[in-house]
């Protein structure tokens, strides 16, 4: 009897902790909708800000963020996926591999402003000829490197979760390790890889520090015409209007935040749906 009471007490405590954790999510979402929704109309989404920023919309920032997201995807896919596959499927199990893995995991703990400065030094200044200085390329590379640890770790874990027996079956049928990886392991790991990938991307889309020196401009009247162009971006724009522009209409700031959160949410939703579709047929 006493144990039953004790149990109820502990679980009640844990439940209230869960509620405390869940509450901010609800509050943020509610606040954003309540304050931001009135600012949203077609003009806000489809026009650039007028000079002085207080008038006009946020189109260049939306477009810029989408460009950066696409570029980040390309970078993370091009480097993270192969690295994750190599580490999980092929790398010799030794001290060197362990050290590399540890280094990658630790990269996840590097503050994003440090990535921003790294991007400034390497992509914007050193490689200016290739990247065009502050540009979509520089921003995408910086954000891509920022989420590489997440992507690599997620890829490795997703590959590791594919049962060893499937690899053995494939190899025993005369497949090379490469054929086994491509035909058996990757298709079965795809949902997990995708999940990690989108989580990383959603984080990148919301980052401000890494892009403020590498890609994002305070104000640009034109949309980018090449990858070497700089862009406006939603998180940086939000930072700007919230701190640098006196008397900026609050509703517009809320609206900007709402659009950013909606974009990130849409990415996550897309990931969840794709994963569910991929998973339907792949069980073991």
């Amino acid at each position: 009897m006493r144990e039953a009471i004790r149990q109820r007490m502990w679980f009640a405590l844990f439940a209230s902790c869960t509620a405390v954790v869940a509450a901010p999510v609800v509050v943020i979402a509610g606040l954003l909708l309540w304050r931001g929704l009135p600012a949203l109309d077609w003009a806000f989404l489809s026009t650039p800000p007028a000079p002085g920023m207080r008038e006009g919309g946020i189109l260049p920032a939306i477009v810029g963020t989408l460009w950066l997201a696409a570029g980040t995807t390309a970078v993370a896919l091009a480097f993270g996926l192969p690295a994750g596959i190599y580490l999980s499927e092929y790398a010799p199990r030794g001290a060197l591999t362990r050290a590399v893995r540890l280094a990658i995991v630790n990269l996840a703990g590097v503050p994003s402003i440090v990535y921003g400065l790294f991007g400034l030094a390497v992509f914007v200044l050193l490689l200016k000829r290739v990247t065009g200085g502050m540009s979509i390329i520089s921003g995408s590379l910086t954000l891509g490197f920022l989420i590489l640890p997440v992507v690599i770790t997620a890829t490795e874990e997703a590959l590791l979760a594919v049962p060893q027996t499937l690899r053995q079956a494939s190899v025993a049928l005369g497949a090379t390790r490469w054929q086994t990886t491509v035909r058996v392991v990757l298709p079965n790991a795809a949902p997990g890889i995708l999940t990690g990938f989108i989580i990383g991307l959603a984080r990148a889309a919301g980052e401000t520090a890494p892009i403020m020196f590498t890609a994002a401009y305070f104000y640009l009247r034109h949309l980018p015409t090449s990858l070497q162009d700089g862009v406006m971006a939603l998180p940086y724009h939000l930072y700007v209007v919230a701190t640098q522009i006196p008397n900026y209409p609050a509703a517009k700031a809320w609206g900007t935040a709402l659009v950013l959160v909606a974009l990130v949410f849409a990415m996550n939703l897309g990931a969840v749906l794709t994963r569910a579709r991929l998973r339907r047929r792949r069980r073991w």
Binding site: Q168, A169, S170, A172, G174, T176, Q179
Partner: protein, 251 residues
Amino acid sequence: MALKLRVEDLNLHYHSFQALHHVSVDIEGQRITALIGPSGCGKSSFLRCLNRMNDLVEGARVEGRVLLDGQDIYQGNTDVVTLRKRVGMVFQTPNPFPVSVYDNVAYGPRLHGTRDRARLDEIVERSLRSAALWEEVRGKLRQSALDLSGGQQQRLCIARVLAVEPEVLLMDEPCSALDPTATFRIEELMLELMEHYTIVLVTHNMYQASRVSQTTGFFLLGELIEYGPTEQIFENPRDQRTDDYVRGRFG
């Protein structure tokens, strides 16, 4: 009876642990050779030496010779892919790929370059028939292999191996995860396949060995203690340890 596999003085090490000690044995074609022994005796490790699956194990080292039709499969110039086509393997737990029944069987042929649809259809049907599964799955070739029962899955795995037209079938306790009915079907199947293949069966189940095999080897602590006609091993073993084991005194 043709000699198919000859193993000469085989030693297998995993790092510093020696899993097999000086195993020498002749395995004949068109019959079932059973390998029995308690858990950890090295019988599965031995089986994995015959198609070089131990290559995948970190720290595994093989000494000695394994001759397949007189050719040493551990010689430097051996093509492991060709070897594994010739020496197929069925595992302890059914391990179909999480794709359709058809794609499971077609996996091997596709791997080795067969693209032609009609040809694949033919291979899939022939393999499933040989594995005594065709009648049960002919209507659901497009369904996930994971919807089949455990016994059906194991026969599917056998069909998948047969599709690459091996000469030798290594079976590593193929019935250990199956119920008695499914076990019976697999045993029947092995007896049918015996006419065309060389079958090496590792089994935990002594009754299974005595039911299906013509030759039996008894492993203990990494050594092949006794090897001979199944009847003799079970009725009249020469070694006291074999006698103890087949009478159920240990293991």
